[in-house]
């Protein structure tokens, strides 16, 4: 994946066409509902619905295999750790689903609900936030933040991070190549010695980044950044009916499923 636009991947998906402000609001609702479910309701089906909606949003944005691999791996890791560790804090009672004889562990249904809900609590917002970045140009995100009254000098910092992501990746690769050409072998040796070897990568990287930060500061200044109190946005964001519609629809799905699920007892 080239990261040439930061994390943005150009496309014409449903989420690409949304105003970034709508996407940010959506991600916040995903976060809110996920927290509510993960800490109070602990209904894995509800959590699953929210997770599915975020996943669908991601898939509709046609991301590269990098993202699939990333989230596939992340889901697996978080699910695993949730299923193993959360049951320890599960409420008493509940029907046992799984009994491990040797250790005498009882895996109850309440424990399972808890573990899954916690997993979804973490995963759903992360995917939603990723969708924001994948489907929005950094310039538009910048404008969204500024339209929401964030001071533009502050709001541009994450945009610069996105802009320079590909640069930093290339720098790391170049530095690693240069040191490997001096016979640095990162895969060999004990763990402590390997960590020490990374100094040969870390130090040049930090120095390059500091130097680049200075150059960047000079460049931004020469382009008049920060000179005036407000700035024009040439390609203005326009909130459309489409944005209101999509946002309402998504939130409606979350609310309706919430209502339906709290009336119907968990099937098992």
């Amino acid at each position: 994946m080239s990261f040439e636009y930061g994390l943005y991947i150009p496309g014409r998906g449903v989420f690409h066409r949304l105003d970034p402000r709508a996407k940010i609001i959506w991600a916040l609702t995903v976060l809110a509902f996920s927290i509510y479910n993960g800490n109070y309701m602990m209904n894995p089906i509800y959590g699953g619905i929210i997770y599915a909606s975020a996943l669908l949003a991601l898939i509709s944005s046609k991301p590269t295999s990098f993202w699939y691999k990333l989230f596939g791996g992340l889901t697996a890791v978080i699910l695993f750790f949730s299923l193993v560790f959360w049951p320890a804090s599960a409420p008493r009672g509940g029907r046992p689903i799984l009994i491990i004889p040797i250790l005498g562990w009882k895996y109850t249904d309440l424990a399972l609900n808890l573990a899954l809900s916690k997993a979804f609590l973490v995963l759903s917002p992360i995917i939603a936030i990723a969708v924001i970045f994948i489907t929005s140009r950094p310039g538009d995100l910048f404008q969204a933040l500024v339209r929401w009254k964030l001071p533009y000098r502050l709001a541009y910092i994450p945009i610069l991070a996105l802009r320079f992501l590909p640069t930093v990746i290339v720098e790391i690769k170049t530095i690693t190549d240069a040191q490997k050409s001096r016979a640095l072998e990162l895969e060999k040796g004990s763990i402590p010695s390997r960590i020490r070897k990374y100094i040969a990568i870390f130090v040049p990287l930090m120095i390059r980044m500091m130097r680049s930060a200075l150059e960047l500061g000079v460049a931004l200044d020469s382009k008049g950044f920060g000179v005036m109190k407000t700035r024009t946005f040439s390609r203005e964001l326009r909130w459309r009916l489409y944005d209101t519609f999509m946002l309402c629809m998504l939130i409606a799905v979350y609310i309706i499923s919430l209502i339906m699920l709290t009336r119907i007892p968990i099937w098992w």
């Binding site: 530095i175 240069a178 490997k180 050409s181 001096r182 640095l184 870390f202 120095i207 130097r211």
Partner: protein
């Protein structure tokens, strides 16, 4: 007596993970003691080829042999014993807190015993003519000094073949000359040198062999004289002929050989003709 090539590239192609084919069916052979300039537009595959030659990249097709051994069967570190690679920007390498640490990094990674390391560090510093104390902080050196530290740190590994990636780009001409002269001294000591450069003037003055890449293929490979004096070829490769070549062509009626590529060559030919040595006019 057949001399074994230091590096042999046999019908090599390389495709980057993203699908870009950077090198397409290139074959060449580097003999010991050669001074080569590798030219080509950005994106023509020069850096990729260089990285294939030092084992950083392994070919997706074909074979790269370093002194007869397949790079696929070697680690980058093993290749580094024979092929040294100096990157364009010394800041991509310099990490240590003293010059000594910095230059000894390479040899130590190769497992060279400590007494030898010290000798190598001192020798390479002397060779690059850097008169700073061993415990100086490398990050505070001037740009030119950093370049020399970078070269010294690769020289300390005592490779037989040294590749330098654009050592003359982005630095002033006086310094570029210094570096080229340093490389010439290296070559006089029996090392093989390959410089990736855009500077045709320097290539003409210092290199004996020119390889030009275009779109990942070998566009030209021959003696500097042959290639740099070939106007058509240079223009096809996106390069501009040197003034000295154009001038000698202009004056060919007077007997100046049209394949002149060096300033002093031209001067000598001219003086020769002027003193009545030759001259087809009259």
């Amino acid at each position: 007596m057949k001399e074994q090539a230091i590096v042999e590239v046999r019908d090599v192609s390389y495709v980057y993970p993203g699908g870009v084919k950077a090198i397409d069916g290139v074959s060449l052979s580097i003999k010991p003691g050669e001074f080569i300039a590798l030219l080509g537009q950005n994106g023509s595959g020069k850096t990729t080829l260089a990285k294939l030659m030092n084992g950083l990249l392994k070919p997706t097709e074909g074979t790269v042999l370093i002194k007869g051994r397949d790079t696929r069967k070697m680690t980058v570190a093993e290749c580094a014993r024979i092929v040294g690679y100096v990157f364009q920007n010394p800041e991509h390498q310099i990490f240590a807190s003293t010059i000594f640490e910095e230059i000894s990094f390479g040899p130590r990674n190769l497992g060279i015993p400590e007494e030898d390391v010290k000798r190598r560090v001192e020798e390479s510093l002397k060779f690059v003519d850097l008169k700073k104390p061993l415990n100086a902080f490398p990050h505070l050196l001037s740009v030119g000094e950093k370049h020399r530290v970078a070269i010294a740190s690769v020289l300390a590994m005592e490779p037989e073949f040294l590749i330098l990636d654009e050592p003359t780009t982005g630095i002033d001409f006086g310094r570029s000359l210094q570096i080229m002269r340093l490389l010439q001294r290296l070559r006089d000591r029996g090392k093989t040198v390959m410089v990736i450069t855009h500077d045709l003037y320097l290539a003409a003055e210092f290199a004996e062999r020119i390889i030009i890449l275009k779109d990942g293929t070998k566009f030209a490979d021959g003696s500097a004289k042959e290639i740099i004096s070939d106007k058509r070829l240079l223009i096809d490769a996106g390069l501009s002929p040197l003034q000295v070549t154009l001038l000698s062509e202009d004056l060919k009626d007077y007997g100046i050989p049209t394949n002149t590529i060096k300033t002093m060559e031209f001067v000598e030919e001219f003086l020769d003709i002027l003193r009545g040595g030759r001259g087809s006019r009259g």
